[in-house]
């Protein structure tokens, strides 16, 4: 007998649509997160820069859920599926190690070779999605081909773009650089296992990111202390770079919005489609670099961009069918059984309904979190210095408008279809 009942086709189409939209919005915002970091022309160790960004990420990942849903809803999610706290923190640790490895990969083999190597994470994501979570099962040949072919096209496009945007000259050991880039791709591709695990079990994205960031900040702090040679030298680095901290924290904040959309994409279209779509961030990062900061482009940029756009388009058109979605539901039922999670909670999560009864409640701690994050950002903004750098403000305004457009379109679609569930 079937353990799950198929979701209404109209509802499934709506969920697939918001998942795809979220993937594109994620790409735009994750790409834009590179922009504030370009204002930092420095002498700060790269690992310390990462730690500063993660500080901004941490504040955003606790204040946004408090503002949108309230911490009572987060508590309710944890009560339903406490094991997912471990999964989320594990995902955060994977992110932090991957991010640190990319610094060494770029130093040793340059961005042109390193980027396509770690961008292979989308291919690994498809493998994990298919093997572990029934993604692309019963999808039909055409849809499976569109997803695989689209990911391959995007991989080629990413390679061209990386070659075009290479700035760092290789200056180290090639073997170590390749190992670092490949390992970063493996870590980032594997990081989506916790994502999918959480969403098949019904967890809300805003609860997941709150615990993800504990692993992220914890691991990043350990790595930064290790690479700086102790707490005192790290603290000295941080205080010395007080006037640029705001830009890095702002980058972290922008990154969080992109990542939140990425979470919704992983939830509603799965990791095999969600990761390639959010990998369009490379296109947006280049757009900011070329149009706003005057970096050089060329025919490779046009060719690479077209390939990436074609690949993303193919994936966007290959949304999951009812038969495939039923296989996802079966994977969700398996998780429910293994971990003893209420099947109604799991089914509601997969259908995009926020099962948490605590949703509308706000507690004083929610406003304290929002106020604390705001005060920290305002305090660092007051100490920030705008570096003397040529910026095309007209293009910056156009791209910022595009970002706002993505938030409005994807946000409204998510609200209508799922109430941000």
């Amino acid at each position: 007998m079937d353990r799950v009942s198929a979701i209404d086709p109209g509802r499934l189409r709506a969920l697939q649509r918001v998942g795809m939209l979220s993937g594109f919005a994620a790409g735009a915002w994750l790409g834009a997160a590179e922009a504030p970091t370009k204002l930092v022309t420095l002498g700060i160790p790269p690992v310390t820069i990462s730690l500063m960004m993660v500080l901004g990420v941490f504040l955003a990942r606790w204040s946004l859920p408090a503002l949108v849903r309230g911490t009572a809803a987060v508590t309710e999610d944890v009560r339903q599926a406490p094991h997912l706290v471990i999964w989320a923190a594990l995902g955060g640790c994977l992110w932090a190690v991957a991010n640190t490895l990319t610094v060494f990969a770029i130093k040793d083999i340059g961005l042109a070779i390193a980027f396509p190597l770690w961008n292979s994470n989308s291919l690994l994501g498809i493998l994990w999605g298919t093997l572990l979570f029934n993604e692309l099962r019963d999808a039909g040949r055409l849809r499976a081909l569109a997803v695989l072919g689209g990911a391959a096209l995007m991989f080629l496009g990413a390679t061209l773009l990386a070659i075009a945007s290479a700035t760092a000259a290789p200056g180290g050991s090639a073997l170590r650089g390749v190992a670092a880039a490949l390992m970063a791709g493996a870590l980032w591709g594997t990081m989506y296992i916790p994502y999918r695990k959480a969403y098949l079990t019904g967890m809300h994205p805003m609860s997941f990111i709150a615990f993800f960031t504990i692993g992220e900040l914890g691991m990043m702090s350990l790595l930064a202390i290790g690479f700086s040679g102790g707490v005192a030298p790290l603290w000295a680095d941080l205080t010395r770079s007080r006037d640029v901290l705001f830009w890095l924290m702002l980058a972290g904040f922008v990154w969080v919005i992109g990542d939140l959309f990425q979470q919704y994409a992983a939830k509603y279209v799965g990791i095999s489609r969600g990761i390639p779509l959010s990998n369009t961030n490379q296109l947006w990062g280049l757009a900011w670099g070329i149009l706003v900061f005057g970096e050089s482009g060329g025919t490779k940029v046009i060719g690479g961009s077209l390939l990436m756009a074609l690949g993303a388009g193919a994936i966007a058109l290959a949304s999951a069918s009812g038969a495939e979605h039923k296989r996802w539901q079966e994977a969700g039922a398996r998780e429910s059984e293994r971990y003893g999670v209420d099947p109604a909670y799991v089914a509601a999560g997969l259908a995009g309904q926020d099962a948490s009864a605590a949703r509308a409640r706000r507690r004083p701690i929610d406003w304290v979190l929002v106020a604390f994050a705001s005060i920290v950002f305002i305090w660092f903004a007051s100490a920030a210095r705008v570096p003397a750098l040529h910026v095309a403000w007209g293009w910056a305004a156009v791209l910022t408008l595009a970002l706002v457009g993505f938030v409005v379109v994807a946000g409204v679609a998510l609200w209508r279809a799922t109430r941000l569930g």
């Binding site: 406490p82 094991h83 640190t100 670092a180 003893g340």
Partner: protein
């Protein structure tokens, strides 16, 4: 005689979940590579 409903131990479920060990192993490998290259 009353029957106590049994609930699976989540810690045991987590540790016996083969999916759990994939990210754990990849994380350990990642830290090992980082230690090697840094």
């Amino acid at each position: 005689m009353p029957v106590n409903p049994t609930r699976p131990s989540r810690a045991r479920a987590l540790l016996s979940d083969p999916h759990f060990w994939i990210p754990v192993i990849v994380l350990i490998l990642g830290l090992a590579v980082l230690r090697w290259i840094a």
